[in-house]
């Protein structure tokens, strides 16, 4: 009989151990002069620049980011739905009695999905030059395939009894599919669509940080010139948009759960999409960004076999891959373990609200910028990169944990409080225990996201495959770029498979419907 039990609440807390080595390295590498700059940065939060030129520039940048995000979101969602239908086994099985085409399409779609939008952005920049389409396409390509994957997964996991009953009664395949699977899938899709809009906005901001325009570029330029007050002007504007978007999506979800019929939901969604699309294009044009301008095509010279072999031998693969994996593990540990640890140590209502504010702030600053901020006072290292990446994802995980706990109900927590257990112990047993399987399922998904995002901090922090990739891109060494992309995509796909396996394992152990968890993640 095995007495040691890695219970779900312990597994939720254990990753926080990553903080120990990371903080040990960071604390020893801190230099005091840089700390002064960090204090100045935080101090500037309460006195952002109100200079009309700064506000005007940030406002313009914000509009570009929002319009870019909107256009990318609409196109990627619509294309994603179509590709999702095309890659769903249930559709092919119902129509032609075989599911291999679905399998084939799914495999093809894994490649664009495995490459982060930032990498797409940098590649497209080489291919298309500085065009407004670069940022939009960089988001559309991976997001379309992400939506397709989720949509086809949802279609394939729906209960097929109603569909079989309709087919048995002589219904034609497509009408039967729409009738049986349409009503349950539409609310899921709407909920997921809202989440993707948030992702598009964050993606567009991130691309801006790397010079592709919008508020991200403003943020980057302000940080480079240490103009923290100007930086906060842009950050607060971005925060207002993010918060409005989060609240609107939550409101729509609540309304959707409450009473809207499926037909109404579809009509409202499509009307909203068309409206936003018709706004987005002229909006960008009004900002003097013309999407109809011609795109130049600069093809990448395909490397020879000798060049590829040379690149293979030249790069230190073991070091690059191991540092990427180490960065993923440390950042995931921080992101997953810190929210439950912090909530356990300060479980009062005030404590949770204060923590929520901190998490919202952490979600606001893109990881490369927080890394640059940290580098003002620390030496570059994997530990510093892990803090930057972990902190951003910690913001996301903290929000998910809080929302999960709010939906969960508190009967066990109240029972333990009534029995005299202390506030922390009763939170640990009464709240975290029940929430941890769902939380660990989100965590598995988040680790997968973090692995993809290592490239983002790698580019800035001088570590892992991401850093090497930017070096190779900068020196136009296409053989190295191609090999690095293949290796990164392979690691990402392996990570995705592991994450899927872990996520489904935890989903099986919770009573919460799998679909809900998938969407929340």
């Amino acid at each position: 009989m095995n007495r040691i039990s890695l219970t779900p609440p312990i597994l939720s807390l254990l990753p926080a151990l990553a903080l120990v080595p990371v903080l040990a390295v960071v604390v020893t590498s801190v230099h005091v002069g840089g700390l002064q700059l960090l204090f100045e940065f935080f101090g500037a939060a309460i006195q952002p620049s109100l200079d009309p030129t700064v506000v005007k520039s940030a406002w313009r940048g914000l509009q570009i980011t929002v319009a870019t995000a909107l256009i990318s979101w609409i196109i990627s969602t619509l294309l994603g739905i179509l590709l999702g239908i095309a890659s769903a086994s249930v559709v092919w099985q119902t129509c032609i009695g075989k599911s291999w085409p679905a399998f084939l399409i799914r495999r093809i779609l894994t490649i664009p999905r495995a490459i982060h939008e930032l990498l797409w952005g940098l590649l497209l920049l080489q291919l298309l030059g500085l065009s407004p389409w670069v940022a939009i396409l960089a988001i559309i390509i991976p997001y379309t395939t992400l939506v397709a994957r989720v949509f086809s997964d949802q279609l394939d996991t729906q209960d097929r009894r109603a569909l079989n009953a309709l087919l048995q009664a002589g219904a034609m395949p497509f009408p039967a599919l729409i009738t049986a699977l349409g009503p349950p899938i539409v609310p899921i899709l709407m909920s997921y669509g809202g989440y993707r809009l948030e992702c598009s906005l964050r993606g567009a901001t991130l691309l801006g940080v790397f010079g592709l325009g919008g508020i991200g570029t403003d943020l980057q330029l302000s940080l480079q010139s240490l103009a923290f007050k100007e930086m906060w002007t842009a950050l607060w504007m971005l925060a207002a948009v993010m918060l409005t978007l989060e609240q609107s999506i939550n409101w729509l979800r609540r309304r959707q759960r409450a009473n809207e019929t499926t037909t109404n939901q579809i009509l409202i969604t499509f009307a909203l999409m068309i409206l936003l699309m018709s706004l987005g294009l002229p909006w960008l044009k009004g900002l003097e960004i013309d999407l109809s301008s011609s795109i130049s095509w600069n093809p990448i010279p395909w490397p020879t076999l000798a060049e590829l072999i040379g690149a293979l031998n030249h790069l230190q693969w073991l070091k690059l891959i191991s540092s990427t994996i180490l960065l993923t593990l440390l950042a995931s540990g921080i992101a997953i373990g810190t929210p439950p640890l912090a909530m356990m140590l300060w479980p009062s209502r005030l404590g949770i609200e204060v923590q929520s504010l901190i998490w919202a702030l952490l979600r606001l600053i893109p990881p490369p910028l927080s890394l640059l901020l940290l580098l003002l006072s620390c030496q570059p290292s994997i530990a510093v990169a892990a803090i930057a990446l972990g902190a951003y994802n910690l913001g996301v995980m903290g929000r998910l944990l809080k929302e999960g706990l709010e939906e969960q109900g508190n009967s066990c927590w109240k029972a333990l409080q009534a029995s005299g257990a202390g506030a922390r112990s009763s939170w640990l047993y009464g709240c975290l225990s029940a929430q941890s399987p769902s939380y660990l399922a989100y965590a598995a998904y988040r680790t997968d996201v973090i692995l993809r995002e290592t490239v983002v901090v790698g580019l800035v922090g001088g570590t892992g495959l991401g850093w090497q990739l930017i070096e190779s891109l900068g020196s136009f060494n296409w053989a190295q770029v191609i090999l690095l992309l293949i290796v990164f995509a392979t690691i990402t796909l392996i990570g995705e498979s592991l994450s899927d396996y872990t996520r489904h394992r935890w989903l099986r152990s919770t009573q919460k419907p799998a679909l809900v968890l998938d969407l929340q993640s």
């Binding site: 219970t7 333990l416 005299g420």
Partner: protein, 247 residues
Amino acid sequence: MTQILELRGVKVYGYRGDRLSNIDLTITPGERIALLGSNGAGKSTLIAVANGSLTPDSGIVLWGGRPITHLRQHQRQAIGTLWQDLRLLEELNVAQNVNAGALSSRNLMWAIANLLYPLEIKACKECLKAAGLSTKIIFANIRELSGGQRQRVALARLLRQRPELILADEPLFSLDPILTEEILNLLLARTTRGPVVIHKTLLMSMHQPDLIHHFDRVIGLRSGCVVFDNSSDELDAKALAWIYQSE
């Protein structure tokens, strides 16, 4: 005799009228009280108010003469509740659930360690035995247990808490006659197995008038009001009909 628990003018408002209306009652040590009333009469609300998990809209609850809201958190250990929905921790094993009853007298590090490696197994086993469970299930997951076993694990957790007063919310609901007898005997402190101490003060909500003779006192609730509070010998068919009379 000094009362250990006292409710003075307790009112709890609900969406459709009062859930509890001007409740005044006292419980003295050693009393065994049956709480009767139809579904929705306010029995669970009364128990929640009595254990401090629900704050009344008006009135006061006193424990040992002190307002229950002024008790330090660990002092609440003296009031044990057997919840109708059991409130077991589904993600943990039996030992960890039983140990949850001891959290009032342990610190956070103990609580964390217990999640990794169930502690004080001897004490857990004694409580399991006292609740009539085999110690073989001590590391079983709660989800693997039958309804009767779950009920007894909740009871073992209560015994681990060592309360002075037990508030039991319909603990005999959906139990077979043999299990009913066993659980009742245990709650009434008639059965002692091993070193587990069971205090005799008990307030138990129930729907089985045929078991009333096991109790000293009966409180009848109807629409949130106490309509009967007397010795169990006084409960006759007429009084029973009065308690269960629909409005």
